[in-house]
């Protein structure tokens, strides 16, 4: 069994491969040097896995590259893979998400973009079309940029119902469609907004990341700008699960691939102090869907002052499962025992923006 870990950074993509059950890693890169790789995906629905990378050159703009040979060679369409239609008057800044659709639609891939929009591909992620229903939503003009920009950075296709997709953004909150993207409704009841006068608005929350387990598709977990939440009704209502964490601030949240009750996040001190508490690099794990939390330390350093961004934590689909994160100081750590212990996969890379891992 080989496991591939794709590491998107501010200056290119690195690929780490382990063929000895993640005991050691061979790292190659930079692929796509001097591009920001906010979005990376590994589409394992195909006989040969397809890598998807959202690559943005500061000079020459954004693109999406795909590889069907695990990164040895890459392809890009001649015309822009993601482009806003002329009548929108907008231009793509970057793709923040490239997410394979449900298993029943093997050629569907979604892209979440900056400015905030959802695009849908029906050719496996090579070219995309704007999902008009969300673009035409009356709330859109009120969505505002968060610190990272105005982007849809979470896309969660329902695992079995192709008509249902959930998206999230900073700042705008969580939205869900049940009719294949025609209509969308805000799903933020119970999520507190700390940056506007109304603490519980219908929309406008700064949601950093939403995660779900495919076997429990109506249960969602969210890391918010000061808040950690669970929903048991597909986002209709949310309850805080921040008790037991050293801080309710952070960016990533992920669910264990085999155990839907197990979740991971990486707390930072606060909005204005984006450091790990006391400079100790720690992943926090809950084994009871957020009722209680524990800090995971073995293998992780102290005296560490780098954060972990919203897409820089992931799991793989191996058995037993692996957990991964990358930091803004370019370190990538992996665990192959549910987070009990950690090892360094790569160090001294550019700041890590995204990680994704899968058996290949």
């Amino acid at each position: 069994m080989s496991v591939l870990l794709a590491i998107g950074t501010r200056k290119g993509l690195w690929l780490a491969t382990s063929s000895d059950d993640r005991a050691s890693w061979e790292v190659t890169g930079p692929h796509h040097p001097m591009t920001e790789v906010y979005a990376v995906g590994i589409d394992t629905r195909r006989a040969t896995p397809r890598l998807l990378a959202g690559v943005t050159s500061e000079h020459f703009g954004p693109s999406v590259a795909t590889s069907d040979d695990l990164g040895a060679t890459w392809a890009e369409p001649g015309h822009a893979p993601i482009a806003f239609p002329a009548d929108t008057g907008e231009s793509l800044a970057r793709a923040w998400q490239l997410v394979p659709g449900p298993v029943s639609e093997p050629d569907v891939v979604y892209a979440g973009t900056e400015p905030s929009a959802l695009f849908r591909s029906t050719d496996g992620g090579r070219t995309y079309e704007l999902v008009r229903g969300l673009w035409d939503h009356p709330h859109r003009e009120h969505w505002t940029p968060g610190g990272g920009g105005k982007a849809i950075h979470t896309v969660l296709p329902h695992p079995t119902d192709p008509g249902r997709v959930t998206v999230a953004m900073s700042t705008g909150g969580v939205y869900r469609t049940e009719d294949g993207g025609e209509t969308w409704a805000a799903r933020n009841t119970g999520i507190k907004a700390v940056h506007v006068p109304d603490p519980y608005p219908e929309y406008g929350q700064c949601v950093h990341k939403v995660a779900r387990h495919p076997a429990e598709p109506d249960r969602l977990f969210a890391q918010v700008h000061h808040g950690v939440y669970r929903s048991d009704d597909a986002g209709d209502t949310w309850q805080s699960i921040a008790d037991g964490l050293p801080s309710d601030f952070g960016f990533p949240i992920v669910v264990h691939p085999d155990r839907p009750e197990v979740i991971y996040t990486f707390p930072l001190v606060a909005d204005a102090m984006r450091f790990p508490p006391e400079g100790r690099c720690r992943v926090y794990r809950s084994e009871d869907a957020g009722k209680s939390w524990e800090a995971l330390g073995p293998g992780l350093p102290d005296g560490y002052w780098a954060g972990v961004m919203r897409d820089a934590m992931c799991t793989d689909d191996a058995d037993p499962a692996g957990v991964y994160f990358g930091s803004r100081t370019g370190d990538v750590y992996a665990s192959r025992d549910d987070g009990d212990s950690w090892q360094l996969v790569a160090a001294h890379l550019p700041d890590v923006l995204s990680v994704r891992a899968a058996r290949v």
């Binding site: 500061e58 000079h59 001649g78 907008e90 231009s91």
Partner: protein
């Protein structure tokens, strides 16, 4: 009319490895018309120069006969017969 385009090294692979392109542009020729012609012939090159709303990318500069085009009307800059358009990325980023 014929316009000569000089490409930076980082973009040559998008034009079949060529450093210098001869492009036929309908008269009266402008920089925008030249880029429209490039989009027909080398779409993967042209989308590095303009976004999907035909806006010039911020950190790509177009020198028309030695003068940066933003001072001469941007994409409306008029090109003479046998004009030389040199594309040079800005000094930017870290």
């Amino acid at each position: 009319m014929r316009i000569t385009v000089l490409l930076p090294g980082t973009l040559r692979e998008k034009a079949g490895g060529e450093a210098k392109l001869d492009v036929e542009v309908a008269e009266p020729a402008t920089l925008g018309g030249l880029l429209d012609a490039l989009a027909e012939r080398y779409p993967a090159l042209e989308r590095r120069l303009r976004d999907e709303q035909a806006g010039l990318r911020r950190y790509v500069n177009f020198y028309v006969d030695g003068e940066e085009c933003r001072h001469r009307g941007g994409t409306g800059t008029v090109l003479r017969e046998d004009a030389e358009v040199q594309i040079i990325p800005s000094v930017a980023g870290g």
